[in-house]
C-alpha cells in the first residue's frame, strides 16, 4: 500500500501520454469521413473568397488607395497573412475549451478527470493536435496562394513567419486556459466563443490596418497579442512601416508570460470551483 511513482517517472510517462492523446484525437477525427472532405476543400474556399473579394472591391489584387492606409499596395498578400495567422487564434483560444466541452457532452470527462495524468498534459496533447491541424490549414492556404494566385510566398521568409506565429501561440493558449476554466463552470459558450472571436478579428489588424479603425477601438488592439504578431510579420515582409520588429517580439514574449500565468491560475481556480459545486461533468 501507499506506493507511488517518482517525479521523473511521472514526467516520462506523461510525455508518452501526449502521444496517446494525439493518437486518440486522430482516430476519433478520422471516424467521421466528412471531416476529411472538409480539410481538403476548406483552404481553397477561404483563399479564393479573399481573392474574389479583393477583385470585386478594387478590381485587382493591389490598390494604391489601400497603400494610403496600410503602407503597401499588395492588398491580397496583406489579407492572406492575416487570415493564415488568424487560423491559429481561434483554434488556440478555443481548441482546449471545445475539447473539454466535447468530453462533457460525450460523458467521458469524469473518466479522464479521475486519472492521475495532469490536466496540463491533457491540454498539451489536445493543443498539439489542434496546432498540427491549424498548421496544415495555414500552410495549405499559403501554398495555394503561391501556386494559384499572383502571390509569391514560397521562400525562406516563411520560417520567420512561422517563428513569429510560434511566439504568438503561447499567449493564445494562456487565453485558452482562461476560457477552458469558463467552460468547466459555465458549460455552453458557443455564442460567447463566436462573439469573442469576431471581436478579436474586428479589433486587430487581420483584414485591414489599424489606421482605418476609430482611435478608441484601435487602442483596444494594443491589448491583443495578435496585433503585434501581425505587425511584426508585415514589417518583416516589407508590407508597410509598422515600427520596431524586435520591439514587437519583446511584447509578444511579455504577453506570453502574462497570459500563460493568468490563464493557468484562473483555470486552477475554476477547476476547484467546479469540484466544490459538483459541476465538472454536468451539461
Amino acid at each position: 500500500m501507499n506506493s507511488c511513482i517518482s517525479t521523473s517517472q511521472r514526467f516520462l510517462r506523461e510525455l508518452h501520454t501526449v502521444r496517446f492523446i494525439l493518437r486518440k484525437e486522430f482516430k476519433l477525427w478520422k471516424r467521421y469521413p466528412s471531416r476529411i472532405l472538409f480539410i481538403i476543400i476548406m483552404p481553397f474556399l477561404s483563399i479564393l473568397t479573399l481573392y474574389f473579394q479583393g477583385m470585386g472591391l478594387v478590381g485587382s489584387t493591389s490598390s494604391a488607395e489601400f497603400e494610403s492606409f496600410a503602407g503597401t499596395q499588395d492588398y491580397l498578400l496583406f489579407i492572406i497573412i492575416g487570415s493564415a495567422v488568424f487560423i491559429f487564434v481561434s483554434t488556440a483560444i478555443w481548441g482546449v475549451g471545445n475539447s473539454i466541452r466535447r468530453e462533457q457532452m460525450m460523458g467521458t470527462l469524469e473518466s479522464i478527470w479521475v486519472t492521475p495524468t495532469s490536466k496540463l498534459t491533457i491540454f498539451v496533447g489536445v493543443a498539439l493536435f489542434d496546432g498540427l491541424f491549424s498548421s496544415y490549414v495555414a500552410f495549405m492556404q499559403l501554398l495555394i496562394s503561391s501556386l494559384v494566385l499572383p502571390v509569391d510566398f514560397l521562400d525562406l521568409r516563411i520560417f520567420v513567419v512561422i517563428g513569429i506565429a510560434f511566439l504568438l501561440i503561447f499567449s493564445l493558449y494562456g487565453l485558452g486556459f482562461f476560457f477552458t476554466g469558463f467552460v468547466l463552470i459555465y458549460k455552453e459558450l458557443e455564442d460567447f466563443t463566436n462573439m469573442i472571436t469576431s471581436a478579436i478579428k474586428m479589433i486587430s489588424p487581420v483584414s485591414y490596418p489599424l489606421s482605418v479603425l476609430p482611435a478608441p477601438i484601435a487602442f483596444l488592439a494594443l491589448f491583443i497579442p495578435l496585433t503585434y504578431a501581425l505587425q511584426a510579420i508585415r514589417e518583416f515582409l516589407g508590407l508597410g512601416e509598422y515600427g520596431s520588429f524586435y520591439q514587437y517580439l519583446g511584447l509578444l514574449l511579455l504577453f506570453d508570460l502574462i497570459f500563460l500565468v493568468v490563464g493557468s491560475l484562473f483555470f486552477r481556480y475554476a477547476e476547484k470551483s467546479a469540484k466544490r459545486r459538483g459541476v465538472i461533468a454536468t451539461h
Binding site: 510517462r13 502521444r19 493518437r23 486518440k24 471516424r31 460523458g107 473518466s111
Partner: protein, 336 residues
C-alpha cells in the same frame, strides 16, 4: 492510520446549493442547500468488499466522487490507501480504479482496445507494457475476440465490462464501482457479480467499495454493508447481522384496497405482532406486518381488515430481507 484500513472518512460532508449561479441567486434570496453527504464516518478494511446501499439520491455517488477526488468536501476529511483526498489527490488517483453508472463513460467511436490503450496511458501505465496489459485484461473478461469492435456496437453489459477493464488497467489496490449492474439483464448481472466477487476481490485481493440500490446484489456480494439515506450512514454491519437486527422472524406483506390509521392501530394491538408499517407507493396500498409467527396471527389480521372494510388484493409471508431492515430503519423503501 490503522494497519489494514484502505478507506477512511471522518465527518465527511458535501453540501450542494440548488440555487447556485448568478441568475438563480438573484431569483431566490436564500440558498437552498442539499446535504448530499452528511458527516459520514466510515472505515473500510483492506481486501474488503464493502457495499453502500441506499435509494436514488441518498448520497452514494457523491460519496464515491469525494473519495475519487472528483468533488471537494465542504467539511471533514478522508483518506484512500493512506493518502489524503485533498492534499494527495495524485496519489489517491494512482491508487484507485473507478466505474461510473453512466453508459457513456467510454469513447463510442473507438474500439475496446483503442479505449483501453488510451486510458492505460492516462493511468500512467508504462508505454511498453500497455498493449500486453490491455490484452491480459480483455482475455480475463472474455472480450478478447471483440477487442477491435467499436464500443457503439457493444451490448450494455459488455460496455460495462469494458469499463471494469478500464478500472483495472493500473492494477489499483482499491476499486470504486458505482451501480455496476444497473440496467443489465439478470443473467448478465449474475456473471458480472461473480467476476467482481471471485476474480477481483478474492483472487486479486482488491478492496472494493460498491454502491447499489439492489439489495440482493449487496446481500450476495458484500462482506459488510452501510445503509445510506439523505447523506447519512444509518446502519453498518454484515448482511447477516443486519438481518438479525430485526427481531421479527416473519413478515406479512399485504396489498389492500384501502389503509386507515385506525386499522393500523388495531393491528398493532394483536398478538404476536411487533410492528405494522404503511409503505404505500405508486397507487398501491401496501402494509407490512412484523410478527414472530405469521400462521398464528393471519386469521386475526384478516378479521381486522374485514371489520375495517378493506379488501385484501394479495398477500405473502417472508423472512426479513435487507430491504426490510432498510425500511425499518429509515421508514422508506430502496426504490423511493
Amino acid at each position: 492510520m490503522g494497519e489494514d484500513i484502505a478507506i477512511r472518512a471522518d465527518d465527511l460532508t458535501k453540501v450542494f446549493c440548488r440555487n447556485d449561479g448568478l441568475f438563480n441567486r438573484m431569483k431566490h434570496r436564500e440558498k437552498i442547500e442539499i446535504r448530499a453527504v452528511d458527516g459520514v464516518d466510515l472505515e473500510i478494511r483492506e481486501r474488503e468488499l464493502f457495499g453502500l446501499l441506499g435509494p436514488n439520491g441518498a448520497g452514494k455517488t457523491s460519496f464515491i466522487k469525494l473519495l475519487s477526488t472528483l468533488l471537494l468536501p465542504d467539511k471533514g476529511t478522508a483518506s484512500v490507501n493512506g493518502w489524503d483526498i485533498e492534499k494527495n489527490s495524485f496519489e489517491v488517483r494512482m491508487s484507485i480504479g473507478l466505474t461510473l453508472s453512466s453508459e457513456r463513460q467510454l469513447y463510442w467511436k473507438l474500439s475496446a482496445q483503442e479505449n483501453l490503450e488510451y486510458f492505460a496511458s492516462l493511468y500512467l501505465v508504462k508505454s511498453d507494457e500497455i498493449r500486453q496489459r490491455v490484452e491480459e485484461i480483455l482475455e480475463v473478461m472474455g472480450l478478447i475476440d471483440q477487442r477491435d469492435m467499436l464500443i457503439e456496437n457493444f451490448s450494455s453489459g459488455n460496455r460495462q465490462k469494458v469499463a471494469l477493464c478500464r478500472a483495472l488497467l493500473n492494477d489499483p489496490p482499491i476499486l470504486f464501482l458505482d451501480e455496476p449492474t444497473i440496467g443489465l439483464d439478470p443473467s448478465f448481472s449474475k456473471s458480472f457479480r461473480t467476476i467482481i466477487k471471485n476474480r477481483i476481490n478474492r483472487k486479486e485481493n482488491k478492496t472494493i467499495l460498491l454502491t447499489t440500490h439492489y439489495m440482493e446484489e449487496a446481500d450476495q456480494l458484500c462482506d459488510r454493508i452501510a445503509f445510506i439515506n439523505e447523506g447519512k450512514i444509518v446502519a453498518l454491519d454484515t448482511p447477516r447481522n443486519l438481518k438479525k437486527s430485526i427481531d421479527e422472524k416473519e413478515i406479512i406483506t399485504l396489498e389492500l384496497s384501502k389503509i386507515t390509521d385506525g386499522m393500523i392501530s388495531e393491528l398493532k394491538k394483536l398478538e404476536p405482532i411487533h410492528d405494522v408499517e404503511n409503505i404505500t407507493s405508486e397507487g398501491s396500498n401496501i402494509l407490512k406486518v412484523y410478527t414472530d409467527s405469521a400462521s398464528s396471527c393471519i386469521q386475526d389480521v384478516f378479521a381486522t381488515l374485514i371489520s375495517n372494510r378493506s379488501q385484501v388484493i394479495s398477500y405473502r409471508t417472508s423472512k426479513p430481507t435487507l430491504e426490510d431492515v432498510f425500511i425499518k430503519i429509515t421508514g422508506c423503501g430502496l426504490d423511493e
